[in-house]
């Protein structure tokens, strides 16, 4: 029943948004909707002037948890393709951190599943961010908004 084609990647290198979009839409004649989410390193977080980011992760578990999240989405919605790419290591201001892309027949399921994927990634995939600002480095604290966002999916 659930037969989306799933692609998971955890990598230090940057990804090419254009290639990922192309891969998503290839051979997807039944897909009427494509939704992509991209997370970027932004200049301000809380009151800090961010200059960069270091992303630690738990190898093996990372891939496993991303695959698990993708399969959950695959069972909840009728999807064509699911792509999740997450970078690790040192990132600079403006860099791409994460890509989540889905195709579906209808836009509602495309939007919902894409948001579901990133909401769950943010609360259950083992990544930890250390931000670099002008004066100091510090580990980011988990945001309560993120667990609220994940809980809304029941």
């Amino acid at each position: 029943m659930s037969s989306a084609s799933i692609k998971i990647q955890v990598q230090t290198e940057d990804f090419d948004h254009a290639i990922e979009y192309q891969n998503l839409t290839e051979n997807q004649q039944s897909a009427g909707a494509v939704v992509t989410f991209t997370g970027l390193v932004r200049d301000m977080n809380l009151d800090n002037q961010v200059t960069g980011l270091y992303l630690e992760h738990y190898p093996v578990m990372t891939e496993k948890s991303l695959m698990d999240i993708a399969q959950q989405a695959n069972q909840r919605w009728q999807l064509g393709k699911i792509t999740i790419i997450h970078r690790v290591g040192s990132l600079a201001l403006g860099d791409q951190i994460v890509f989540v892309g889905v195709t579906s027949k209808h836009r509602k399921s495309a939007f919902e599943s894409c948001e579901f994927l990133i909401d769950f990634l943010k609360t259950s995939a083992p990544f930890w961010k250390k931000e670099t600002s002008k004066d100091k480095d510090y580990w980011i604290e988990a945001r309560s908004e993120d667990s609220t966002a994940a809980k809304k999916w029941g």
């Binding site: 992303l55 990544f127 930890w128």
Partner: protein
């Protein structure tokens, strides 16, 4: 069993992994033993402060262990 730590917890404890730990019957017993190390470990490893994964799957104190597992303790995740 093997115990690994990540993120800020790893820095606070000053160690990334412990080999040949235990065996313990479940996560709760393993955690309690580790917390005996000192005040720092006592606080940092409390179940309110950190998550636990057994063999790369999110788990909790009630999870039973046989002794071959890799158990990970880490702070709430902040990727994405």
């Amino acid at each position: 069993m093997k115990v690994v730590f990540f993120g800020q917890l790893k820095e606070i404890l000053g160690v990334s992994q412990l080999e040949n730990v235990g065996p313990f019957e479940n996560v709760a017993l393993l955690r309690a033993e580790l917390q005996k190390t000192d005040e720092n470990w006592q606080q940092s490893l409390s179940s309110e402060r950190c998550l636990v994964a057994v063999n790369h799957v999110l788990s909790d104190d009630s999870c039973e262990l046989t002794g071959d597992e890799e158990v990970a303790f880490f702070p709430p995740v902040t990727g994405g």
